[in-house]
């Protein structure tokens, strides 16, 4: 008979990455069936309840409380695991109390940090969503620009924060802004790309990463890449940050060409954004992913894909896709993506190639994934449904192991499409992880086509990752769109 044990620590915060690392250690212990260490937000409690580890104790936790929840085979194992969890939590981490281990004080508040660094010009905020807006407000009220990595921030707060920022002439990137490059400094999930004269304003983090890396491949650099957060171009937010980003890059002497990246915006927002674009004398590339016909101002060109946006901004010609000697045995493509925008871009390629597909993050013209795998299914593993309570696949590639192995076993699947996103914030060796996960069985009879978003200067080094994949028999395409076309080709042949 399994035993569920919960413990709650009031007002105890650790960042989710640290907590997930700790939970993994607990799960690995003898007799432990499942375990979670999470802040007590309603969403997290639901996840723990679904995993069968939550009891009334944990259920009573507040969003600011830490819940330690575990299920073990018997009381002895449960107690042992709980003791281990306590000891891991109590291990000194920097200066958690007034008696710091380091002999150095780390500020507890933005106020104190600002006193320590009075000329700080950017606050990078990645606290849990329920608390992020309050911290953002504190930074803005102190005259500090904000990059808010946190997601699950209520949209009313987003609007309020962005209006406050606009009033004060401050840049409010996010919430849910994964990527920015400012003055050559990669922030959040970003790649080490050369500095140059192309500026990017993007509502999608991986979109910014793919375009900036493809530009780097074409020999071009970035002046600044500004993130807006995924909801900025929705009607209720009205593109406040997008408009401000355009304004800034338009005025920025170092920026020659401006690339805009977003999912298809609300009509009302598209109108004001394009109106602002038209007021500039600089050339623009507008990538509203999947949008193929929309009237553009004279100085702007529409790019339906990230790949095309990079080509237009660099003036580079399309290169032919590498041809594969392999052939697909199964009929269908299974796409398993870490990057949501990568998944969207692949859908564009499929749709425009006239290949019917479904997705859990379907773009216009593509069907919703309904659980039926007997079709071309393009899945964003970074979507909330998959990541709730788990690390994002860009940080923890193990999230993809299970669906990948399932796809390889499925005789109906001829081609597996996967993306790798390198750079800061990302896993240290996602290619190595994948090859290890495949193990002795290798790719088997399935063709795996991959794209690797990254540069030679990234910590993971793109060519090293490519080599690992190719050595394992995986086809590596020069871009995500190219990988999609190869997959289309393979299942059509």
């Amino acid at each position: 008979m399994s035993v569920v044990v919960n413990e709650v620590r009031r007002g105890f915060y650790l960042d989710s990455v640290a907590l997930m690392r700790m939970s993994r250690g607990i799960v690995a212990r003898n007799g432990v069936e499942e375990a979670g260490m999470m802040m007590g937000t309603p969403a997290n409690k639901r996840i723990m309840a679904d995993a069968g580890v939550l009891n009334a104790t944990g259920e009573a936790a507040q969003p600011g409380d830490l819940v330690i929840a575990l299920r073990a085979c018997d009381q002895l194992c449960a107690d042992d695991a709980m003791a281990e969890a306590r000891s891991v939590l109590d291990k000194p981490r920097g200066n958690s109390g007034a008696t710091g281990e380091s002999g150095q004080w780390t500020p507890r508040t933005i106020r104190a940090a600002h006193a320590q660094m009075p000329d700080a010009n950017l606050a990078l905020i990645s606290v849990p969503g329920a608390f992020a807006a309050a911290e953002g407000r504190k930074a803005l009220n102190r005259g500090i620009n904000v990059l808010m990595f946190s997601d699950n921030v209520p949209v009313v707060d987003e609007v309020e924060l962005k209006q406050l920022a606009r009033e004060r002439g401050l840049l409010m990137m996010g919430p849910d802004c994964g990527t920015a490059i400012i003055n050559g400094v990669p922030l959040g999930f970003a790649n080490v790309v050369p500095r140059g004269d192309v500026g990017i304003v993007g509502a999608s983090g991986t979109g910014i990463q793919e375009v900036s890396c493809l530009l780097a491949q074409h020999g071009l650099g970035i002046s600044h890449a500004l993130g807006t957060g995924g909801r900025d171009l929705k009607a209720d937010v009205g593109g406040i940050t997008m408009l401000m980003g355009i304004e800034l890059l338009d005025a920025d002497a170092a920026t020659r060409h401006i690339v805009i990246i977003s999912k298809p915006p609300a009509d009302s927002v598209a109108r004001v954004v394009l109106e602002r674009v038209g007021q500039s004398v600089k050339p623009f590339t507008v990538c509203f992913i999947g949008v193929t016909d929309m009237a553009m101002p004279a100085n702007a060109t529409l790019a339906p894909t990230l790949e095309r946006a990079a080509q237009l901004a660099s003036g580079a010609n399309a290169v032919p896709d590498p041809r594969s000697a392999l052939s697909a045995k199964g009929k269908h493509v299974r796409g398993l993506f870490a990057g949501g925008t990568m998944c969207a871009e692949v859908q564009v390629v499929f749709r425009d190639a006239g290949l019917k597909c479904v997705s859990n993050v379907a773009i216009p013209g593509v069907g919703e994934f309904d659980g039926n795998w007997r079709q071309h299914a393009l899945i964003d593993l970074g979507d909330d449904d998959y990541t709730a309570g788990r690390p994002h696949p860009m940080i923890e590639p193990a999230v993809r192991d299970e669906p990948l192995l399932a796809a390889l076993k499925d005789a109906d699947v001829g081609v597996v499409l996967i993306d790798f996103v390198l750079g800061f914030g990302a896993h240290a060796d996602p290619a190595g992880h994948l090859v290890a996960a495949l193990g002795a069985r290798g790719v088997g009879g399935t063709v795996i086509v991959a794209s690797v978003t990254g540069t030679e200067a990234d910590p993971q080094r793109r060519s090293s990752q490519v080599r690992i994949l190719e050595a394992a028999g995986i086809i590596v395409a020069p871009s995500n769109a190219s990988a999609a076309r190869i997959a289309v080709q393979l299942v059509r042949d």
């Binding site: 008696t99 710091g100 002999g103 150095q104 004080w105 507890r108 104190a112 009220n141």
Partner: protein, 421 residues
């Protein structure tokens, strides 16, 4: 910023200004009955927020019975205890009489009190003379030796000090503190530098005014042998500096922190003279040989008034030697305490600086909002009394103010601003 935030900001600026612009001067030593006409026979002032005999801890009861015998209100300790239980004495906090007292903090009508005047605002504050170390009333001691010493303080040292201080025209205290900080004192657990500095200034005047050489020698010996002599001066000074900051509408600054061995109490400027209390915590620290935490009485005394003005635990960075009391604390961690307290304070005191922290001023003016926000509780350096009356001091260490007082105070303060919880 919202209107409310602006109002609070302005009120807090004024509260801090009143503390920082204070000019505290030790002006004499006076009999309590003369200085405090409201203080009647039979009234016993104690440390901390209000408390009844029933709820008093052991040392506090020990001190009460001792001082009742000293005042002649009871024939012996047993008689005093019976009378106390029967309600024969009135108990009131020192803070209600412009007074402060360390540990048990007994103040009664015939004792001699040191007087600090805040020249900027004219107000006065009082504190009894420090009894020295060992078995003393502030730690609940109440035997003949203890009472005789208080008698001597009252009859001999008090008048002698008064004459000397008046002869000098008063002793400005800000400069003494500033020097003491550069010499390793934080004015709560360590007062050796300031006690010496004070004695250096007093000695010539004492020599001029003392009744005879024998008296002079005894006075000098007593002060010179007591490393904590200055503590009570610093406390009266703290009270004199914080009182003008009381009752500023809209200010969330703490104007007093004190403990009676049972409850910890704070007052906040914007909520006037209301006490917010929560159970005191146990100090953590080092114990004299033969004693342990099992012997310790919970936190006690008005001495946390020095933390209220940025000294004690808040000035730990100036006193690396004191960090040794916190168990495993390294001397290099002293600054961490001061930085931590900086997070909950409104300002740094530019006149009281810490050389080893690049002359950072001591953090001053505790803001209850910042305490509740950060969860960083004020750190208080303190002595530890034995829980049984009469035994005395058994150790020293640090203690944290309990969270509850600040949370209650925040809710009450918000109500004064028209903000509902």
């Amino acid at each position: 910023m919202t209107d409310i935030a602006q109002t609070i900001d302005a009120a807090n600026k004024e509260a801090v200004r009143r503390i920082l612009s204070s000019e505290p001067v030790l002006i004499g030593v006076v009999r309590a009955s003369e200085a405090l006409p409201r203080l009647k026979a039979g009234t016993i002032l104690h440390a901390g927020p209000p408390i009844s005999w029933e709820r008093m801890c052991g040392p506090m009861r020990g001190a009460v019975t001792g001082i009742a015998v000293f005042e002649g209100w009871a024939s012996d300790l047993d008689d005093a205890e019976r009378k106390a239980a029967a309600g024969a004495f009135t108990f009131e906090p020192n803070h209600h009489y412009d007074c402060v007292g360390p540990m048990t903090g007994m103040t009664t009508s015939s004792q001699m009190l040191m007087v600090v005047q805040n020249k900027t605002f004219g107000n006065l504050a009082y504190c009894a003379i420090n009894e020295g170390l060992g078995k003393v009333m502030r730690f609940g001691g109440n035997d003949r030796e203890v009472l005789d010493r208080i008698r001597w303080l009252t009859d001999v040292l008090g008048p002698a000090l008064d004459a000397a201080i008046k002869d000098m025209g008063g002793i400005p205290l800000k400069a003494v503190i500033a020097r003491g900080l550069t010499m390793g004192d934080e004015m709560h657990q360590r007062n050796v530098a300031c006690s010496s500095l004070l004695l250096r200034q007093l000695a010539p005047a004492l020599a001029r005014t003392a009744k005879d050489n024998e008296t002079l020698a005894k006075c000098l010996t007593f002060i010179g042998a007591n490393d904590q002599f200055f503590l009570n001066v610093a406390m009266a000074m703290g009270k004199a500096m914080t009182d003008p900051a009381r009752g500023i509408a809209g200010s969330s600054m703490v104007t007093a922190m004190c403990r009676n061995g049972t409850d910890f109490g704070i007052r906040v400027s914007g909520t006037g003279d209301q006490w917010f209390t929560a159970p005191v915590e146990m100090p953590k620290g080092l114990y004299f040989p033969g004693y342990s935490e099992a012997d310790a009485n919970p936190d006690m005394g008005d001495s946390a008034i020095v933390e209220t003005i940025g000294l004690g635990g808040f000035a730990m960075g100036a006193a690396p030697a004191v960090v040794g009391f916190i168990g495993a604390g390294n001397a290099s961690e002293a600054a961490v305490f001061t930085r931590a307290m900086g997070e909950i304070c409104l300002a740094d005191n530019p006149e009281w600086t810490i050389p080893s922290m690049d002359y950072k001023g001591v953090p001053t003016g505790i803001d209850i909002r910042l305490v509740v926000e950060t969860g960083l509780m004020p750190t208080i350096n303190t002595g530890v009394a034995h829980k049984k009356p009469g035994v005395g001091q058994v150790g020293a260490g640090v203690v944290k103010a309990p969270r509850g007082c600040f949370e209650q105070a925040l809710v009450a303060f918000a109500a004064t601003m028209g903000v509902k919880a």
